[in-house]
């Protein structure tokens, strides 16, 4: 079934998210939003593969993206990105080194995407956009730091509790083996944690 895509509606959703980060004058906001174009990815498609030269910033309108890498013959899920979040080939963008991870659509996914170069140009042109860029990078760095802390210091039970509290919506949309890998536990352990949660609720 063909879906009609209302790009203006999508850009408004991006506008709403940006206002959470920074107060951008309307004319700058319009210029910023205009560099984003619609991109669609069917379920299971690879949006960003390893060693990618992809230099786009993506904003998810609908759908779900899984970020994972291969280590010792296993797939390790590092994150999930759902509606109203950004993703990018951050490793290559910031380190200039080849990325080793995959960004894959877990569902049919609709994004707004902009070349990072266009965003850099606008950042050079407008202080407020530069500030916006800094605040977005700071937020994603903070998420990375918190994720590191959780991996180091929280038990499996605690990591599960955090996940349920903060990412409950993702839980029902993602195969359990990916959630187990993301939490750093075996699928059997995840089942045990889920059962424990259910019995606590009863």
């Amino acid at each position: 079934m063909k879906i009609a895509h209302d790009i203006e509606l999508y850009r408004n959703r991006l506008r709403n998210l940006i206002t959470y980060f920074a107060d951008i004058p309307a004319f700058q906001m319009d210029e910023f939003l205009s560099v984003f174009a619609l991109e669609k990815y069917p379920k299971k498609s690879v949006i960003i593969p390893p060693s990618s030269e992809n230099n786009k910033l993506y904003f998810i309108i609908s759908g779900l993206v899984r970020i994972y890498y291969q280590a010792e013959g296993k797939e390790i899920t590092s994150d999930f990105k759902e509606e109203n979040s950004f993703f990018t080939n951050g490793y290559t963008l910031f380190t200039k080194l080849p990325n080793i991870d995959y960004h894959v659509a877990l569902e049919d996914t609709v994004c707004l995407a902009a070349d990072y170069k266009s965003i850099e140009l606008l950042s050079s042109k407008y202080h407020e956009i530069e500030y916006l860029g800094r605040k977005i990078v700071e937020k994603y760095y903070a998420t990375f730091l918190i994720s590191n802390y959780n991996k180091l210091f929280l038990s499996a039970d605690e990591r599960y509790d955090v996940f349920i509290r903060e990412r409950a919506a993702v839980m029902n949309r993602v195969p359990l083996r990916h959630i187990a890998s993301h939490l750093g536990v075996k699928p059997e352990t995840l089942s045990r944690l889920r059962a424990k949660q259910q019995s606590v609720k009863i």
Binding site: G90, Y91, F94, T95, E130, R134, A142, L152, F153
Partner: protein
């Protein structure tokens, strides 16, 4: 160290040169930024930052050496080092507004230029060039953290040791071997073996 003459202009010159590595900043704005930094001396074995640190500051190392470490399950892990011409800050407190769990401790008498973070934010808001510099600095911090994580995940011990020798060989004679071993995630005996092998 306290009684030695300190050429603050020289130190601020070092700071400005290191900042220009990130992006171009016009001289007047760079000078205004450098002027919010003040001199601090930390004797050897001083904790500059401790867990749950609430002071939000940025640090530039003029001379000396700082070790970043944390304790988990009663094991002390060395996560990184900072020597002259490098920056450090409490990323958890400043970027994530969370309690930090790590220590920043001097391995030698250390001289830093220090800035209060609220003054940093004020200047970044005042000047576009400084805002750009601020963004590139946080991008650099993020990049370094990602690179360290990936090296731990994907490189074997020997590869990590070779990177260390390529990029930070100057530390080998300044840092107790047990801390370098911990940083590389190996036992001290393994580090000795790796050093002999390279020789």
């Amino acid at each position: 160290m306290l009684n030695t003459f300190h050429d603050i202009d020289l130190y601020k010159g070092m700071l400005k040169k290191s900042l220009l590595y990130f992006t171009y900043v016009p001289e007047t704005e760079l000078n205004e930024f450098a002027d919010i930094f003040y001199l601090k001396f930390y004797p050897k074995n001083t904790d500059i930052i401790t867990p749950d640190n609430k002071e939000l500051k940025g640090y530039f190392v003029v001379s000396g050496l700082v070790r970043m470490h944390y304790t988990i399950n009663n094991n002390e892990i060395t996560s990184d080092f900072r020597d002259a011409n490098s920056f450090f800050l409490n990323g958890y407190a400043i970027y994530a507004q969370q309690k930090n769990f790590d220590y920043f401790t001097t391995l030698e008498d250390t001289i830093c230029l220090v800035a209060d973070w609220d003054k940093v934010e004020l200047l970044l808001s005042a000047y576009h060039s400084l805002e750009s510099m601020g963004r590139k600095i946080v991008e650099w911090h993020y990049a370094e953290s990602m690179r360290v994580s990936y090296n731990i995940l994907f490189m074997n011990t020997e590869e990590r040791f070779k990177i260390f020798m390529n990029e930070r060989s100057g530390l080998m004679n300044r840092v107790p071997q047990k801390y370098i071993a911990s940083y590389l995630g190996v036992a001290p005996e393994t580090l000795s073996r790796l050093r002999s092998k390279i020789k």
